[in-house]
Every structure is written in structure tokens, then in C-alpha cells.
Subunit: 238 residues, 2 copies
Amino acid sequence: MTDPDVRASIMRGTYEALCEHGYTELTAQDIADRTDKSKSLLFYHYDSKEDLLADFLEFLFERFDERVAETRDLPPVERLAVFVDWFLYGPEENDRQSFHVAMLELRTQAPYNEAFRKKLRKSDDQLREVLEEILREGLEAGEFSEHDLEETAALLIAAFDGARIRQLTIGRDEYLEQVRAATATWMFDDLLAEGASFPADRDPGTVPDEADTHRRLLVDFDTDEGSESDAERTEGCE
Amino acid sequence: MTDPDVRASIMRGTYEALCEHGYTELTAQDIADRTDKSKSLLFYHYDSKEDLLADFLEFLFERFDERVAETRDLPPVERLAVFVDWFLYGPEENDRQSFHVAMLELRTQAPYNEAFRKKLRKSDDQLREVLEEILREGLEAGEFSEHDLEETAALLIAAFDGARIRQLTIGRDEYLEQVRAATATWMFDDLLAEGASFPADRDPGTVPDEADTHRRLLVDFDTDEGSESDAERTEGCE
């Protein structure tokens, strides 16, 4: 896959098809129907549907990397708050719930699918590295108190992932706010060094009024190249 | 389903078939093949494969209830440690991993399947009630310090579920021990009231040497009625 425009078009079609059909029922034709390409052209670029979806995971990985880069100039306390918002957005953002459900279906196929497993491990590494980087920076800046970076990162990722999964699978929206509040009480309050504080508008224990730019992390297909009509098409995927 | 022996036989067959085939690829014939019943007899008892699997979720729910009842006489600190072991067992128990992967696949179908969603919500309620009961008892006994029971229960369940899911889907066993250790550091150390402590052999931050009776919570089919050969058949499901 060398032509970035072709790839972007297929990635967008994949996103929309996942929203519409979920993962388990998804066919290559569903993806082709949402691009201006034929199904046989998809198989010119990819060996199989699984190969295409593995590249879709890579695509999400790249986009996450870009988003992370955008936060690198923020102070550690603020970066941590942004990280929390990336995961515990909503529940008013549930219009994109169907995409996340599909991604969860895909994740449960990783034990049977080496290509998925490899990409998801890479993504897990990336997530942990980013969070550990934030925690390390905070420690070095004297904003966070001493703690085991790896264990803390593991707990935060597991808790946010678990909350999201229970919200997605059984519609228990309360997990998002309760886990946010409990994380603030049990962890972030203790994490802050003497004299350090979260900016008032970025307290990770409070659901932000306005965090659209952060919430859309994994599903924002409005890239620099994206036209207005592309953006509208993506909006339609609910 | 009125005959408990018939139901037990079908439930065991379902368990074994889930271990062998996962959820996505599972057929009613796979289940029938693991009982002495025909596929048509399964459909005499159940309206559909989904109906049967919903009853399987109910069956797991009942077994969890029995296990919870067995812990009711323990002191709250010990009950909490047992609760942690129920979730963060292993990774040496990975021989039963395939069953838990299948259950995870099933969970991701809940947004599309009302019967599954209903049973999984009931199970979520049960889990939270048990944990809140343990926390409340500890508070009343002066063993735990003041905290928000609901939020703390939500965080613990989300963290344990998230750790297990990352371990199951991408084989990152380290999540189990890291989340166990981080929970002990960030939460349990603060949760203990002045002067209270976990029994030395039941510190929830330490992986227990011997906790088989707890670990097998969801997959122990060696009921009182179970014959030795039944137990052997279950053991074979790895």
C-alpha cells in the first residue's frame, strides 16, 4: 500500500463499515461499498480481509501517535488529564459507540489471529509508553510524588479499559464517571506532589464540558486532507 | 428446563464446546456432540442457540452466588483478598484461558443481543453488590477507612476486568501482577483503617501460592453431583 490517498479512502470505508456492521458480520464487500473501489481492488492491495483490518489497526496506531505528539508541549499534570479524557469521554459521545463495540469484537479475535495480536500488542506498548512518559516527566518536574511508573500505568490503563468495556457491552454508563471519580480520589490526589495541582479546568476527576478535540482520538477521520463532504460522511457513521 | 441433570449435562457440554471452538464459531451441534443428547433435544429445551447460551450465563451466575455464599463467614479483609484472587488468578492458570476468551467474545455480542445483555447486567449487579457488601462490612467493623463504596467497587471491577481482558486478548500476563500490586499500593494500603491488616497469607498484593478453590470460580464444573469421569472430562478442556 503505497498511495496514501487510496489507503485513506479504504481506511475510511473500513471505519464506516465497522460502524454499520460490527466486526463479526463484516465482509470485504461492505468495505468496498463504502469506497469508490471494487472488492477486487481491495484484494489487489491486501491479501485478505484480516490483512486489511490489521492495516486498519496500524492506521489507528499512527493517528494515536500524532495525537500524542500534539500534547508533548503541555505540562505533565495537564497531559495526564488529557489522557484520562481520551478514555473516559462520554457517555454523551455514545453516537460513536458502534465503532468501539466493533473494535472490541475485533480485539477478542486476537487470540486466534496473529496479525491482530501483533498490532494490538504494539498499540498496548505505545499506550503504556505514553503514560509512563507522562508520569516520568511529572516526577522529574516535581509535580508527581514517587511511585512505580509501570504498575501505575498498568492500573490506569486496565481501569479505563475495563470501564469502557462495561459501558460498551452492557450500557452501564455510570462506570465512566465512577471510575473517573474513584481514580481521582484513590490515585491522582495522592499522585500530586506537595504544592502541585491540576489546572482548574482540567481536573481529571471532573467530566470536562468541552473536550471534543480529545474525545475523538480514535475515530476522528477529519484529517488535514479531508474534505468537508468526507467529514460529513464520517459524522453519518453513528 | 426443569430437569437439573439434563441442564447440568447441557451446561457442561456448552462449557466444553466454548473451550474448544470459542464463541464466534460455536454451533449447537458442537454442544450436542459433548452431551449424550441430540441437537434436536437441545432445541426441545431451548428456543435457539442464543437462548441456551443465555441460560449458560444464568448458570454461571448461580454458581458465582454459591461461591459468594461460601465466603460470607470470613472477615471482610479476608473476603476482599479472596475477591481479588477470583479475578487476578494466574497466569499459571492459563490452561483455562480458552474458556475465558470465549466468554469475552460472547460479551462483545451483548450490544446486539438483548438476552445476553440482560444476563450480563444481572451479573454486573451481582458483582458490584458483593464487593460493596464486603466494603460496607469492613467499614462497619472498623477495618476499612471511610470511602465511597460505589466508586471504589466500580474502580476495582473495571481494573480487574481490564487487566484480565488485556491478558486474554494479547497475552500480556504482566497486567495481572502489576494491577494486583498497584491496587495494593494505591488502594488497599489506604483502605485499611489504623491498626487493621490483611492476614499474612492473604495479602491481596501478593500472588497466593495455593488458591485453587478460589481461582476456579467460573469454570469449576465439579459439582457435588459430578462423577470422577465428569471431572476428568472437564479437566480435558484446555
